[in-house]
């Protein structure tokens, strides 16, 4: 493995030789395993930017400025050594192997570099190569399974949003997403999807802003999990931080990397609906009244019935189908055989493409370094007419203006343009609403496609009564090509900083950083659609500016006691300004999408203008004793404008300690051991504009203006919320890094939460901001590595991540008689809600449950007609969307230049209610709703004719069920889903599934051309070839026809509920990388 690492380093870094003023130090770096020398070791003059890299022989030359006397030798896999030069001119060093990847320098909060040994909190790093391994356009998705305690939930929509949760949900209604920080600059990961979108109603998933970050520009990602690690970032970091370090140039070098990757995507049919092929359109076993539509009187399909509980297929029966109405169809006015469709809806999905081309140039001179990158990413989605283009530019540079003064700047720009993003939820723009819920199994998708393309008209299978247009469902090709959305986002982030070394123990840094995004989203509903034609436009501008001033010092108290720290201040100003407007009453001119093209005057647009200012001061002090005992103290005070005056200042401390006990107790088998513990508090402010009450403006009635009391009651007595967390862990490394692990236990309690709780409408409000509630998360995280085989040519290493979080809502608000026991987070279609309930895990699903005969809840009771009985109340807890545990197993095999890696991603537990099954079984789409019963008769035949279905369970008296339930919808009675039991539906609990899965998430086979070949190519220093695959195989799941990972959106209510779920997408292709 080390050899591989060395090889990699060699191809990336070139030999550096530094020419300069002061004294020249040379030397050689070796280790016990590598007596001939270790190439690629970073040799840094402590406290300066001056440094060098060892060459192929492990030799180095470094110019040490006057006043400096310590060289820092660091390299992945070895203990960093600080070596005093004294008056030597040659410094040879023997590095000690250390816990692999647990010992290197890590970037911590505010960009402070720390030796991992000194850290007293859990932080897990993922290298850039691990992130770009399968060329995922959104780098966040590539973190799944790679970090213990990090729960990534990506959706299957093209460029869709991804949920990033560290150590569970802690805020009841606030933001639970991790904070993204790039090179010390917090950047937006806003999800601008509408509230309707995230609660499963009409919407389009436009993704979140983290997708704008260029994966090829990432050097490493460090996940800071607990409050002790993140406290210096202030309140926003309470949910953990994804710290991204971008690639930097090296002095006196030039490196050019060109990367070209292409992957193809196709849907995983095991996550899509399968259809019964016995019965066609209708809610009941009948056609429409026979009519003459052109070739004589014949049965007419019930076009309006968006269900497949109709007459049995019969190839000898000729009927008028939807295309008999279409004057341009070859079947116009003709009867066609009554058979199941040849091309079912899965044929709607196309093969997608993801092309990723990037170039990165980095290097530097004596006093400068720079890195310049450009990436072009073209994504073609799996739905017709969908694509995303991304152009990503990155630049950073630093310049040592003098020995004491270094200036650094970074500028990054991403332009994303999207077309035909996927409609989600219960929405005509989501094709899965038809495919999974309301469909006729006789409709051939390819014929629908042909019908659209003949004249680009909305020729639907779902004609209205007058056969003049669609009643509910449009032709989906019409939907994709006419009712499409488009969007763009310009995302800029960057900073300029000045670092001045006042003395060799003291430096001051000033930094101004900026992030701004401009979003445009346009949505269309064309004239001729089932819905009223409409054009909606959303413009949103966001910017955030941070000014940091930081004083860092490093002054050892004695030779045994080190002391360093910082004192700083941060001014943050952010602003959101957005406007959303729609046409009113339809469009006048077809195909013109403009707000002026409106039938009636447009309603007043929704304008939002929010500003937030937070000023913080912070301090941090680190004490070290003999490189084995460390103590870190931090504190921060923030003053936020979102809180009422008087309550707007809050202070929070953190303390952390660790002990590297292998410094005191050495053993042959235990190479490295450390225990750590910390306690931290973090304060948090309120969402903007939640203090003072205002009125809502409503569209006036003619010339009469209307205002209305808001539905949310604000609160001018809010106080800051607070998270208190405690964490302890142990890191062990055995047999010189043959195997090792890191175990962390944590508990965090978030109290005084600022939540807009739902309240009884009888209060006059449906929500009110209160300070209340406590949520606790506790759990363990384990990350382990083992190298089962290591020979000269072959190495097998395995990394395992496991985390188990337990979450409980301890309290909500109110006391005594007024105690509130439940806060609904979202109420979904189907009578299912997601809730924060006292004593329960966050986000439990409520709905009607089965009635059980026994306490153990094994015997479901059926009524006198054989249908499952449901509880009278729909607030029974029927599911918990929180997984029992999540984990990832990453294997890497290397043999000479070959490297095979694969990642298995596992989630155990986590319940999901499927509206798709609830409706789709009720409308008779799925095989479960047809076939024969145990008497050998069709389940859809009348019970009196021996049909019906015998549901497993007991009768009300406890005896085994022997009542066949009618399963034909003509009178509103199926045995399934929404239509069962006289339209009261089956218990919702019947459609709650276990969301466990085991997925082969990533496979990558790479081959680096050996130096023996590349060496002859002149400028080319290295070539890597890769075959890659992502989401190739779902090894195990319990949801029959969908991907258990699929949710609605990112956000608090976006999990545990599926409606119009998109199938999982497989990704496979190749990648070539050249180094020059």
């Amino acid at each position: 493995m080390k050899k591989v690492l060395l090889g990699l380093v060699l191809t990336v870094f070139t030999v550096v030789s530094v020419m300069a003023q002061s004294r020249t130090i040379t030397g050689k770096v070796t280790s016990a395993d590598e007596p001939e020398g270790i190439p690629g070791v970073n040799v840094q003059v402590q406290g300066t930017a001056v440094g060098a890299i060892t060459d192929i022989d492990g030799s180095y030359v470094v110019e040490v400025p006057q006043g400096s006397n310590i060289l820092v030798f660091s390299f992945v896999g070895f203990t960093t050594q600080n070596v005093s030069i004294g008056n030597r001119s040659e410094v040879n060093v023997i590095l000690q192997a250390d816990v692999r990847e647990l010992s290197e320098v890590v970037i911590t909060a505010l960009g402070v570099e720390r030796n991992r040994n000194e850290l007293a909190y859990s932080a897990q790093e993922v290298q850039g190569e691990q992130i770009t391994r399968t060329r995922t356009p959104n780098f966040v998705d590539a973190l799944s399974g790679k970090v213990a305690g990090l729960d990534i939930r990506s959706n299957n929509t093209m460029g869709g949003s991804t949920n990033v949760i560290i150590r569970g949900y802690s805020s009841i209604t606030g933001n639970n997403q991790a904070l993204f920080v790039i090179d010390g600059v917090p950047v937006s990961n806003a999800n601008n999807n509408t509230a309707n979108q995230s609660s499963g109603r009409v919407g389009t998933d436009f993704g979140n802003a983290a997708a704008d970050l260029n994966p090829d520009n990432i050097e490493s990602v460090n996940v800071l999990k607990g409050a002790a690690a993140t406290a210096l970032y202030g309140s926003r970091a309470a949910n953990g931080v994804i710290m991204i370090t971008t690639k930097k140039g090296r002095k006196n070098s030039l490196n050019i990397t060109v990367n070209s990757g292409v992957t193809w995507t196709s849907i995983d049919k095991s996550t899509f609906a399968r259809y019964q092929k016995e019965y066609g359109a209708g809610y009941g076993d009948e056609f429409r009244t026979p009519a003459d539509l052109g070739s004589g009187v014949g049965p007419v399909v019930r076009f309006q019935d968006d269900a497949s509980f109709g007459p049995a297929f019969n190839p000898n029966l000729m009927v008028y189908q939807w295309d008999a109405i279409d004057p341009f169809s070859p079947n116009y006015g003709k009867m066609t055989p009554w058979v199941a469709a040849e091309n079912d809806p899965s044929t709607f999905y196309e093969t997608g493409l993801n092309s990723n081309q990037s170039i990165n140039i980095s290097g530097g001179g004596d006093e400068t370094t720079f890195n310049l990158g450009y990436t072009r990413n073209d994504i073609k989605g799996n739905l017709p007419n969908s694509w995303i283009d991304k152009d990503q530019f990155n630049f950073n540079a630093s310049y040592d203006a003098s020995e004491r003064l270094t200036v650094t700047a970074s500028a990054n720009y991403t332009r994303t343009a999207g077309m035909g993003r996927y409609g989600t939820g219960y929405n005509g723009r989501n094709p899965n609403q038809q495919f999974r819920q309301w469909w006729q199994t006789n409709v051939d998708l390819k014929e629908q496609e042909a019908a659209y393309w003949r004249n680009e008209q909305n020729i639907t299978w779902n004609w209205n009564a007058a056969n003049s247009g669609p009643i509910y469902s449009d032709n989906l090709y019409w939907t994709r090509y006419q009712n499409y959305s488009n969007d763009s986002r310009d995302n800029f982030y960057g900073f300029a900083s000045v670092n001045y070394k006042v003395a060799d123990w003291l430096s001051v840094m000033g930094r101004a950083s900026f992030n701004t995004t401009e979003d445009l989203q346009e949505e269309r509903m064309a004239i001729g659609s089932a819905d009223v034609s409409e054009y909606t436009r959303f413009n949103r501008g966001f910017n955030e500016t941070n000014f940091d001033l930081m004083l860092s010092f490093n002054k050892d108290i004695s030779s045994d006691i080190s002391f360093n720290g910082l004192l700083g201040s941060n001014l943050r100003r952010s602003r959101v300004s957005s406007i959303r407007a729609s046409t009113n009453g339809g469009l006048v001119v077809p195909g013109l999408y403009s707000l002026s093209n409106t039938v009636s005057a447009i309603e007043p647009p929704t304008e939002i203008f929010e500003r937030v200012g937070v000023d913080g001061i912070f301090a941090n002090a680190n004490f070290g004793y003999k490189e084995k005992l460390f103590l870190e103290l931090s504190a921060r005070q923030d003053k936020s404008t979102t809180l009422p005056e008087g309550n707007n200042t809050y202070f929070y401390p953190a303390v952390a300690a660790n002990y590297v006990f292998t410094e005191d107790f050495t053993s042959s088998w235990l190479t490295h051991g450390k225990i750590r513990a910390n306690y931290a508090e973090v304060g948090n402010d309120a969402p903007a504009l939640s203090v003072f009450d205002v009125y809502d403006a409503v569209t006036g009635f003619g010339d009469k203006p209307i205002f209305s009391m808001p539905s949310t009651r604000n609160n001018n007595e809010l106080i800051p919320e607070r998270q208190k967390s405690i964490e302890a862990g142990v890191e062990l490394d055995f047999f010189n890094s043959l195997f090792g692990f890191d175990v962390t236990w944590y508990r965090s309690n978030t109290i005084n939460q600022i939540i807009p709780v739902n309240t009884s409408a009888a209060t006059g409000y449906t929500r009110r901001f209160v300070n209340a509630g406590e949520v606790q998360n506790h759990g363990i995280e384990v990350s382990a590595f083992v190298t089962p085989i290591q020979t000269q040519d072959f190495t097998w290493t395995m990394n395992v991540n496991f985390s188990r979080n337990r979450n409980e809502v301890i309290s909500l608000y109110g006391e005594g008689e007024n105690k509130v026991e439940n806060v609904p987070l979202a109420s979904f279609q189907g009578g299912v809600s997601v809730n924060a309930a006292v004593g329960q895990p966050y986000g439990v699903l409520r709905g009607t449950d089965f009635i059980y005969f026994d306490e153990a809840k094994t015997q479901k009771v059926v009524n006198s007609s054989g249908y499952y009985m449901a509880t009278g109340r729909s607030d029974e807890i029927i599911g918990d969307p929180n997984p029992d545990w999540i984990g990832g197993v990453n294997n890497t095999f290397s043999y000479k230049g070959f490297n095979l890696g694969f990642l298995i991603d596992i989630r155990k537990g986590g319940d999901v209610f499927s509206l798709d099954q609830w409706y789709g079984e009720g409308t008779g789409l799925y095989p479960e709703t047809a076939g024969l019963n145990d008497k050998g008769n069709p389940v859809r035949s009348p019970v009196e004719e021996g049909g019906g279905i015998l549901l497993p369970g007991v009768k009300e008296d406890g005896s085994p069920n022997d009542i066949y339930a009618g399963n034909y919808n003509g009178n509103g009675n199926t045995a399934f889903g929404y239509a069962a039991n006289g339209a009261n539906g089956t218990p919702r609990a019947m459609y709650v599934y276990d969301g466990s899965f085991v997925k082969l998430r990533e496979v990558a086979l790479s081959y680096s051309l050996p130096q023996s070949i590349v060496g002859d190519w002149g400028v080319v220093k290295g070539v890597d070839l890769q075959l890659i695959g992502r989401n190739l195989w779902i090894i195990h799941k319990n949801m029959k026809y969908s991907d258990p990972e699929e949710g609605l959106s990112s956000g608090n209510a976006g999990r545990g509920y599926q409606s119009g779920a998109y199938p999982a997408v497989r990704n496979y292709g190749f990648n070539v990388r050249f180094n020059f």
Partner: protein, 475 residues
């Protein structure tokens, strides 16, 4: 060195000194002060919308009285109240979007010391009458509801009050509002969509409302009902011109909610058709109003089978006039006033005239309102004529009132519960047992948001069932 250090430290700390950012907390896009009339207009519109809409998520009363039925989706005609949050939508609209806005309008008016006291009295009276109207809907829908502790920003879990007690209180408030009216002064002016601030009309409206609300108590406390009815009767509506009609506009979102759910300009859905129960009854009487209520199918009026699936293309539809974007909606009308007076006579209350006279006036006014010809001939039919029509007075009035209250689902449902006529049978489906609702169940989210109070109320009214009868529904 030390000096530099101290200087740097103070610079770092100084940098964080917050300037005055208090206005960051002020929403620059929303009003913190509004004229009370704007709240009044909005509340009246929201009230009318919720009473008018046929949207199955909110208002299914047209189904309950079998004026309409659905084509494909049977949940609501079969009285399911939980697969959609129907009671919740009704409850929420009335409390949050009607009563809360009225409540705040009242606060703003009362706090305004610079206002003409007469105008102030009139505005308060207008607010109060609409509030009484809204409260009566809540009480007559659910029974016990939060009242004394409702709409109070300091009480997050309002207790439910006894419906009969609250009902008496709103009747008292209605009297007080009537007493406040100053006929010579203005009220809300242009903000009054119903009567354009004609206070004489508000006197009629208040008295007609009083007549209607009092009659609800006629079975349970006849003496109280009698005195209230007799007080109100001299000042009630005297023609259709007096109707409390909300004049919807043709532009969304101010179009009639019926059009929003049926008119092809606003929706492609074909969910609602007239039910056979009403159509057959009117066919039997050859009622000329059919031509105004329904379209024809194959030269006849054919209703959809109530509670079963129906082919939209094979039955009559709701008349084009009713689904027009700007079709007006009635909150209270002269027709029902005359029916109430007929009933008052039958109950022996002293309101003048005979039951037949009022009955005839009611039917005639209904014909006039709908523009249907031949009221006299219709009234002459033995099956219609008050002297010869079958049944007791409740059945005679009940049947004609049920027909006349077409497109006013809630009121038709209220009168059906009160008069117990006509007979409405739930759909008969083997293995299933349906009962026509006599109330809405409490919103499901009251179970989770206000559970203890809701449970106490459920016990107090005899169970939170849709078949529970309200306190005045004693027959």
């Amino acid at each position: 060195m030390k000096k530099i250090f101290i200087y740097l430290v103070s610079m770092v700390l100084f940098a964080s000194c917050v300037d005055n950012l208090d206005d960051f907390n002020v929403d620059q896009k929303k009003a913190s002060q509004v004229p009370p009339g704007t709240l009044f207009t909005g509340a009246v519109k929201n009230l009318t919308d919720v009473m008018t809409t046929p949207n199955v998520n909110t208002n299914n009363y047209r189904f309950y009285v079998q004026h309409w039925t659905s084509t494909q989706y049977l949940d609501e005609p079969r009285y399911n109240m939980t697969s959609r949050t129907i009671p919740q939508n009704m409850f929420q609209t009335l409390y949050r979007d009607v009563l809360m806005d009225l409540n705040d309008a009242k606060r703003l008016i009362q706090e305004n010391d610079l206002m003409d006291p007469d105008v102030k009295d009139n505005q308060l009276a207008q607010v109060e009458m609409v509030e009484v109207y809204a409260w009566s809907i809540l009480l007559n829908t659910f029974g016990d509801v939060p009242y004394s502790q409702a709409l109070n920003r300091d009480i997050s879990l309002p207790a439910y009050d006894d419906a009969a007690t609250v009902y008496n209180d709103i009747l008292t408030r209605l009297d007080a509002a009537l007493d406040r009216i100053q006929l010579t002064a203005d009220g809300f002016g242009n903000a009054d969509v119903l009567y354009d601030s004609d206070m004489a009309m508000w006197v009629k409206f208040g008295n007609s409302l009083k007549l209607k609300l009092a009659m609800v108590l006629a079975d349970v406390s006849p003496d109280q009902a009698q005195s209230l009815v007799e007080e109100a009767a001299p000042n009630v509506f005297t023609s259709n011109a007096d109707n409390a009609a909300f004049p919807y506009l043709s532009n969304a979102p101010n179009n009639n909610p019926v059009s929003e759910n049926i008119n092809p300009l606003r929706t492609s859905r074909e969910d609602y058709v007239p039910a056979n129960t009403l159509v057959d009854a009117m066919n039997e009487l050859e009622d000329p109003r059919r031509a105004r209520y329904f379209t024809q199918y194959n030269g006849e009026y054919k209703g959809g089978r109530y509670g079963f699936t129906n082919s939209y293309s094979e039955v009559s539809h709701v008349h084009d006039d009713i689904i027009a974007l700007d079709f007006e909606s009635l909150l209270l009308d002269y027709v029902e006033v005359e029916f109430l007076l007929a009933e008052a006579v039958e109950r022996g209350f002293n309101v003048g005239g005979s039951a037949a006279e009022h009955y005839n006036a009611a039917v005639t006014a209904s014909f006039d309102y709908w523009g249907a010809p031949g009221a006299a001939a219709y009234l002459a039919k033995p099956a219609v004529n008050y002297s010869s029509a079958s049944g007791d007075w409740k059945q005679k009035i009940g049947k004609q009132k049920w027909i006349a209250l077409y497109n006013r689902g809630f009121d038709a449902w209220l009168e059906w519960r009160r008069l117990d006529a006509p007979t409405l049978l739930p759909p008969v489906v083997e293995g299933l047992d349906f009962t026509v609702p006599t109330r809405l169940i409490y919103p499901v989210n009251e179970q989770t948001l206000n559970g203890a109070n809701r449970n106490a109320a459920a016990d107090a009214i005899g169970g939170d069932q849709s078949s529970t009868k309200l306190w005045w529904d004693t027959n």
